[in-house]
């Protein structure tokens, strides 16, 4: 049952050293504030799960928090590579990183299977692809009716999932809209879940009945962190800070510059700092009206 907590407490109560953890958000609604809080609290030996690791996992891996990465696209979307992830995979810096690599179809199906309480996902994939050769968690499975060989991957079942969403109501139900990505599945697949939101509203009474809503009893904790998705965006609240993604490419390219940036912008910062970071991006928020 959702408890409203300050972010530091929500993270401390729900994340543990050694956890399998997913910080999800498919380009949109990336839970940056929650990731930064986890960095400040200095967790270790995490298995980081995410379709598109993106800046926040580049940061967590660069800070030495991860022992394993489960992913399907380790890029800075539209910009290029993730340089801290590369340094870990290519040079073992700051520590060796085990990887379990999939395609998006497999990861999406694996989250879906996790949400659906199944041990594995079955789909048509990896045909002719080398990932099936290097990842032992990709196995063939045969349709008992047609004999067609399909692919199976284990369900993703995180210990805890973090997401960012637009709104909670006072009861603790959470609304996600726009590019909804994989967040619903990531929360339902996890044992625990923490949601940062832009704001809390009285109720969802006037909203459309088919919106993506996570009932309060599927959520462990909610923290209000306006701007908590920056430099990603929140549909209806503020635009994506594309320049920050371009800039990250330079910051992460250099170990020292990375460390200095993290010290200044994460270690010495607070969840409350996110609001100011998106102030200038609010005018560019998506045009299409949402509920």
């Amino acid at each position: 049952m959702a408890k409203f907590l300050p972010l530091a407490q929500a993270v401390a109560e729900n994340l543990r050293d050694g956890d399998k953890v997913a910080f999800e958000g498919f380009t949109h609604l990336i839970p940056t504030a929650a990731a930064h809080e986890a960095i400040r609290q200095g967790f270790r030996n995490l298995t980081l799960i995410r379709m598109t690791p993106d800046l926040i996992y580049d940061q967590m891996i660069g800070m030495g928090m991860a022992q394993k990465l489960v992913f399907s696209y380790a890029g800075n979307p539209g910009v290029g590579l993730l340089r801290r992830v590369r340094d870990a995979v290519e040079n073992g810096f700051p520590n060796a990183l085990e990887i379990e690599e999939h395609g998006h179809a497999a990861m999406a199906n694996a989250y879906e299977a996790g949400a659906a309480g199944l041990p594995c996902a079955v789909f048509r994939g990896y045909r002719g692809a080398d990932l099936a050769r290097v990842n032992p968690n990709i196995k063939p499975i045969t349709c008992p009716f047609t004999g067609e060989q399909l692919a199976a991957v284990p369900a993703v079942r995180p210990d805890v999932t973090f997401i960012h969403a637009q709104k909670a109501n006072r009861r603790g139900d959470v609304l996600v809209e726009g590019i909804i990505g994989i967040q619903k599945e990531a929360v339902l697949a996890a044992k625990r879940s923490v949601v940062t939101v832009e704001e809390v509203v009285e109720d969802f009474g006037g909203l459309h009945p088919n919106l993506t809503i996570l009932p309060r009893w599927t959520i462990s904790a909610i923290s209000v962190v306006p701007g908590g998705s920056h430099p990603s965006y929140a549909h209806g609240y503020y635009a994506r800070d594309n320049a920050a993604y371009l800039e990250w490419d330079e910051i992460a390219a250099d170990r020292d510059r990375f460390s200095a940036w993290m010290e200044e912008n994460v270690m010495r910062a607070k969840p409350e700092d996110f609001a100011a970071r998106v102030e200038g991006l609010r005018a560019g928020a998506s045009l299409r009206s949402v509920a």
Binding site: A74, L81, E101, A108, R124, G128, A129, E148, I180, G284
Partner: protein
């Protein structure tokens, strides 16, 4: 005639391959530009799908990522990522999967995973994302990339996305019933697979490009069609459409940056 760059020619040649009734799964970068030029010129009703779940999107500026807000704002509908991969891609509803490549071989196999050995890579690239299944579930695959000896190689280091494998009926032998790569558009030429061997063959040279230029920037021995054509130069409309799109895109991305900086200072 207005002058144009090889990259502009590449994008415009790629855009021409798309039809008004295509349902196109759009990779980011060059494919995204080509698809949107097609939409803004001869194919206004083309359905563009990005893997973030946006179906039938019509962005006014090119997205930096596959999940920019603009894509959702202008889409017919936006679905979850599992639904995107299950109902729309695996369900067989995509006519054209449009991919870029870091490494490509002559049979249209694509590597975007590693340079070197998988376990101990020389360069760790982002990986496959949606591409492995785009390559096998789309009815056809178009590929676009700028030519280079590093990019177009005799043997790729990792089969991220399967093209025609070793050529011939290799796809069929693996039980893959889609056509695979049927078109490659580079900054110098248009290539199509040989009907039998499936090896990419140059069928058209872009204006100003020569056989030598094509061979010099390609890591395998290039085959040329006996009926080699010249790609028609970009029309004024095509060029203006592409350039306006780029201008709008650059302005939008910079505006966001400037606004964010202002916000930080105010904050």
């Amino acid at each position: 005639m207005t002058s144009f760059t090889p990259n502009e020619m590449m994008t415009i040649a790629a855009s021409r391959a798309l039809k008004n009734d295509d349902v196109c799964f759009v990779g980011i970068g060059a494919p995204s530009a080509a698809c949107n030029v097609a939409r803004l010129t001869h194919a206004p009703d083309i359905t563009l799908i990005y893997e973030s779940g946006t179906i039938g999107t019509a962005p006014d500026v090119l997205p930096l990522s596959i999940g920019d807000g603009e894509l959702c704002d202008t889409a017919v509908t936006t679905v979850s990522v599992p639904e995107m991969f299950r109902y729309w891609l695996q369900g067989g509803r995509i006519s054209i999967g449009f991919l870029g490549a870091a490494q490509l071989d002559k049979f249209g196999n694509i590597n975007t995973t590693v340079i070197g050995d998988y376990a101990h890579p020389k360069t760790r690239l982002p990986g496959g994302g949606g591409a492995p299944e785009i390559a096998t579930s789309s009815r056809e695959v178009y590929i676009t990339m700028a030519q280079s000896k590093r990019g177009m190689v005799e043997k790729i280091d990792f089969y991220t996305s399967f093209g025609h494998g070793d050529g011939g009926d290799h796809r069929k032998r693996l039980g893959i019933d889609t056509a695979g790569p049927t078109l490659l558009i580079t900054d110098l030429a248009i290539w199509k697979p040989d009907p039998e061997t499936k090896e990419f063959t140059v069928v058209s040279l872009h204006p100003g490009a020569t056989r030598e230029m094509v061979q010099e920037t390609c890591g395998w021995t290039v085959k040329f069609s006996p009926a080699l054509e010249e790609t028609p130069a970009p029309s004024e409309l095509e060029l203006a459409t592409l350039r306006n799109l780029k201008v709008r895109t650059d302005a939008a991305h910079k505006r966001g940056a400037a606004a964010a900086k202002r916000g930080s200072k105010d904050g």
